[in-house]
Amino acid sequence: MSYPYLSLIANYLLLLTTTLFCFFFCWIQANINSTSLLINFHTYKLKKIMDIHLAIANILSPPVLFFFLGMVAVWVKSDLEIPKALSKFFSLYLLLDIGFHGGYELHHNGFSWNIVGILGTCFLMASIVPLYAFFILKRKFDTANAAAIAATFGSISAVTFITGIAFLESAKISYGGYMVAGMALMESPAIIIGVILFQVFKSKEATATLNGNNKGVYQRPKWGKILNDAFFNGSVLLLVGALIIGIITGDAGWKAFKPFDAIFKGILTFYLLDNGIVAASRLKSLKGSAGFLIGFSILLPVFNATIAIFVSNHLLFLGEGDALLFTILAASASYIAVPAAMRLAIPESNPAFTIPVSLGIVFPFNVIVGIPLYFYLIHLI
């Protein structure tokens, strides 16, 4: 009943990274004044650094701080909790709102071949990430777990994306409504690729299962169900539905919905508070290959982000807002849909790997460090 050792280390590492990161930016911030005279002539660079300022202001945004508060609540063993029904509603609200808003923007700016290119790249990205992640993970894990974790990284986290949007809005940087469609497209491919990878590579392994008595009678879920769950799961359906309704109803629709959209940041604040609580609890269940997992879960998102930044800059020529959102999508990992889908399709996989990684490490890393970091990188290029 001893408190899991490695989770302590994980918590500690997270805090350390965050603190270092904060110090790093504080240092920049502090130097702005002292060096501003020096680099005054170099106005362009200065403006960039000023924007970094913005980034710091955003780490200190209420939603992110309440995420911290949620983690603290678990660490001090408080009984603070958000009722499950509300937490589900908040996520529905965020999806509906973001979908509706994206649709409204698309209604205004129209559809172009350029957008098709972006959406195609989104889809590709979501298909390639699980592939290379799988082969890295195979070195440490059996096929089942490697496939499941790879799929988790291939898919996306809508709330990380939405936190990115809140970041952009505070910084008054615009983004395209089609990025919401891009997110919808990136949710499901990883599930299918994960299952295929497992099917292909497990036959190369000995068929002996963990329990050694797999009588072969056991029926796996059929592809029909997998595909149906992947493409019609509640989140995808609500997001796409709201997007389409936003396109159809245009200005009139958005005007009526506007006051409800106004409470967006408040709802996000509550949702992140809740996510902080759950993330901190889930960090506790990290066991086994935790050392490798923690390192992997911080390096892979950064690696994916680097590729995404490169692609958005050199292939897609995206604006800063779109580039950040695309990068966040690539760097985030699914903690709701994919782990559940993997559990059903690959029951040999262990959720004690996927969830602590995606919700306990990748999510906090992206929300706290990732978003401003990726923005900084995009901005510098």
Binding site: K84, Y218, V278, Y335, A340, R343, L344, E348, P351
Partner: protein, 104 residues
């Protein structure tokens, strides 16, 4: 009042697998089943909770009262499922109040 001797099978199973279990119960043809929501618990696989976002650490509780013959089929199915999925299965004897509706 008429009573009949039946088996009560209580099943705890990971939330993701609930649909499959229900599907199988219906295939076997049990006369009914009841799903109890808002479950949490702990077993060999650690704490399961209904309050975490990821359905994979969520628990469900379902029980069915059926004939001994049906029970055997249900148990055979569960014996296999429980090799892969988190859960437990308890069997006991109950009497069923046999109203018109519940006559087999």
């Amino acid at each position: 009042m008429k009573f009949e001797q039946r088996k009560k099978i209580e099943i705890l199973i990971e939330a993701v697998k609930l649909d499959s279990v229900i599907y199988q119960l219906e295939e076997i043809g049990v006369p009914g089943y009841t799903v109890v929501g808002n479950i949490s618990g702990k077993g060999a696989n650690g704490v399961l909770d209904h309050n975490c976002k990821a359905k994979v650490f969520e628990n469900t509780y379902i029980f069915t009262v059926c004939t001994a013959a049906q029970a055997t089929k249900v148990l055979e199915y569960l014996d296999e499922v429980l090799h892969y999925f988190s859960g437990a299965c308890f069997i006991s004897d109950v009497q069923v109040l046999n109203t018109t509706k519940h006559k087999k």
